[in-house]
């Protein structure tokens, strides 16, 4: 009843092509964005910002990056945290050696550098795919891990191997309180989401999806596999590079090379599996899930009056993750996003059963 499209006729292709063609969707998103910007800063506690919202925002950007490559273009990467590392260390070195640069420029440059590295490690995808490509991306992960741990120039010859950063400064505004960080990241996430959505709706997005669904037929239509795959790797790495820089500068403040290890790569992958591959909304769901579950597992027993150690909670988290991955891969490969879409479908018919 509420969610019908009745009366919403489009009289031009441009109108039909817009991002949110259904009016109710537009209202919903508008309200959500306003709520996020205007209400949440006053309602949320510092703990909520620091432990949940800020990691969530940054990881969503990274998840979008990975989803573009895996979900839309059908290439596999289980070493994507390496590109986050590239972005973080690039940003660190840029700020260190060119301190006069505006931080937004630093972010963009870090992203571009990560994109370059991404293209490089995307080259194997021109010859191998599937499982074999996964191993190639592992090579990228471990090699880059090692690079940043051992080559002292990257860490400015730090003896411990870690680096630390000062709070981000933008046009005189120092972003150091949780609320400020939240607003900054939220703005960035929205911008990046819109850009990603446009790419996915454009002809590059269709090229990626064609490569994913049937690459032989794609070539016959005139799609260039090399261009499609390398742009997917590059843009995906760009997003992760920016996310990595944000992760290091805004969330962590200081980090060692292990901060971007295989565990983070696998978490990113799990985010898009659970959230939904090939869906930008899924990135949001997946990131939220991965961020909230461990915290929930930590806190829930307390609410229920049952005490379990943090160690047990973390083991439990592992078990639940593992089981959920398997569950989603078997039962609903399109993840939570599909469940959401099904829910909306039902809502369109409500209160009628069909």
């Amino acid at each position: 009843m509420l969610y019908r499209e009745n009366g919403q006729f489009k009289s031009s292709y441009a109108a039909d092509l817009q991002m949110l063609p259904i009016a109710q969707d537009r209202w919903f998103v508008l309200v959500l964005v306003l709520f996020a910007f205007l209400a949440v800063p006053f309602l949320a506690s510092d703990y909520l910002f620091l432990s949940i919202l800020i990691p969530f925002l940054i990881l969503t950007i990274a998840a979008i990056g990975l989803n573009l490559l895996v979900g839309y273009c059908g290439q596999i990467s289980i070493g994507h945290a390496a590109f986050m590392a590239v972005g973080a260390y690039a940003a660190y070195n840029l700020v260190l050696r060119l301190p006069q640069l505006n931080f937004l420029i630093v972010l963009l440059l870090a992203g571009f550098i990560a994109a370059g590295v991404g293209m490089l490690f995307g080259i194997p995808s021109l010859r191998i795919k599937g499982l074999y490509l996964a191993v190639a991306t592992l090579a990228a992960q471990f090699f880059i891990d090692w690079l940043f741990a051992r080559v002292k120039w990257f860490t400015n010859h730090s003896t411990s191997g870690s680096v630390s950063t000062a709070p981000v400064e933008l046009f005189g505004w120092i972003v150091d309180t949780p609320v400020e960080k939240y607003v900054f990241l939220l703005a960035l996430l929205i911008v990046f989401t819109v850009l990603a959505k446009n790419l996915v709706r454009g002809h590059i997005g269709r090229e990626w999806m064609a490569m994913r669904d049937m690459d032989v037929a794609a070539e016959v239509i005139g799609i260039r596999p090399v261009y499609a795959k390398l742009t997917a790797f590059a843009i995906s790495a760009f997003y992760c590079g920016v996310a990595g820089a944000l992760w290091g500068f805004v969330h962590l403040g200081s980090w060692e090379p292990l901060a971007f290890n295989l565990t983070l790569s696998l978490n990113l992958l799990f985010m898009i599996i659970i959230g939904g591959m090939g869906s930008l909304l899924g990135c949001y769901f997946g990131a939220a899930f991965i961020v909230i579950l461990p915290i929930l597992l930590d806190q829930a027993p307390l609410w229920l009056g049952v005490g379990i150690s943090t160690a047990t909670a973390s083991h439990l988290a592992f078990m639940i993750f593992g089981a959920l991955i398997v569950f989603f891969l078997i039962v609903e490969p399109h993840g939570l996003a599909r469940l959401w879409a099904i829910g909306k479908e039902k809502l369109r018919l409500w209160p009628f059963p069909h």
Partner: protein
């Protein structure tokens, strides 16, 4: 076969040169060189054991069981903890039963539903299984490092000290592992080639329906497959656990098998063995001999090459010879 493909020749030549270089340039005493070589071979044997289980299962059932690595660890954990409460032999038998059941569960719940998907979905699913077993194992049995006492002396033995100056330190446990691996391979090879059950397994791996239509009892075959999976995991787990202590590490166990089977080809047991040995030796050699060179050349903060050597080697192999040393070439039909 190899001669026509010049990138393969180049890569092989580079590897062989790298292998011989430390000896040729007298950068290290020959005794030490042999020690490192043997150490690499022994480590390689452990890799081979895991990869072999993988290749065997694939040959026998046509299914990629990446959870093999996680199963190895689970088996090791089971043996280690059970052995604290009962004689080792009993613990091993009990662990074997547990492993067979586990293999069955994994195959039924995870691998069977995904049987038509590509390797990537299976890889991710078995990563999920690995995570699950990690948490489950630690919940059941705790997270300390546990030991498996096989009764083999832990002190290394000095051999051949009249041939090489300083002698060569060799670990008895490693010898035991190599011996066991060799026995296992031989036994399983004989089983597959010479017995009717083995032949039946290969038939099932080729084509389930055809095998069924000639009267091969599929369910019994599956039981045998799971038992083999469990057995190999158990043996690998015991050997690995005895040598290194039992502790979960995703990258070491679950993922290291990948470069090994890539080098060896997914369908070949011989390939798994060879791949494991090459990776084991390559890693050790790279770490011990190449490492210091690179540290000096690039002013690095320490070594750690073995973290990525296996994967980079696999990557190079993939670009040059995707089907591995012994695997079969794929032809894509439209």
């Amino acid at each position: 076969m190899l001669a026509r493909n010049w990138p393969v020749m180049l890569l092989s030549a580079a590897l062989m040169i790298g292998l011989v270089l430390p000896l040729a340039t007298k950068a290290s005493p020959p005794g030490f060189y042999i020690e490192v070589l043997l150490g690499g071979l022994m480590a390689g044997v452990l890799y081979s054991l895991v990869a072999m289980g993988f290749a065997l299962i694939f040959k026998a059932s046509g299914v990629f069981n990446f959870a093999q690595g996680a199963m190895v660890l689970f088996a090791a954990l089971a043996v280690a903890r059970l052995a604290e409460q009962m004689p080792l032999a009993v613990a091993v038998v009990l662990a074997f039963v547990i492993m067979v059941v586990l293999a069955w569960l994994i195959e039924r719940l995870v691998l069977r539903p995904l049987v038509n998907q590509e390797g990537v979905a299976l890889l991710m699913a078995t990563l999920g299984v690995t995570y699950f077993l990690d948490g489950f194992g630690q919940t059941l049995w705790g997270s300390d490092i546990y030991k498996i006492e096989l009764g083999i002396a832990k002190e290394p033995v000095m051999i051949l000290d009249n041939v090489f100056q300083g002698g060569i330190l060799v670990n008895k446990e490693d010898f035991a592992a190599a011996l066991v691996a060799a026995l296992l391979v031989t036994a399983l090879s004989v089983f597959f080639q010479k017995t009717s059950t083995g032949r039946a397994l290969r038939a099932v791996a080729d084509d389930h329906q055809a095998a069924q239509s000639i009267g091969i009892p599929l369910n019994r075959i599956w039981v045998i497959v799971w038992s083999i999976a469990g057995l190999v995991a158990l043996v690998a787990g015991i050997m690995w656990g005895a040598k290194l202590g039992v502790q979960f590490s995703v990258s070491q166990v679950a993922l290291k098998a990948l470069p090994v089977v890539i080098l060896g080809g997914f369908t070949s047991v011989n390939g798994a063995i060879l791949g494991g040995l090459i990776i084991g030796v390559g890693e050790k050699m790279a770490e011990v001999f190449l490492g210091p060179v690179m540290v000096k050349m690039f002013d690095l903060a320490g070594g750690g090459i073995e973290n990525w050597f296996a994967y980079v080697l696999a990557l190079l192999f993939l670009l040059v010879r995707p089907e591995g040393l012994f695997g079969e070439k794929h032809i894509d039909r439209v």
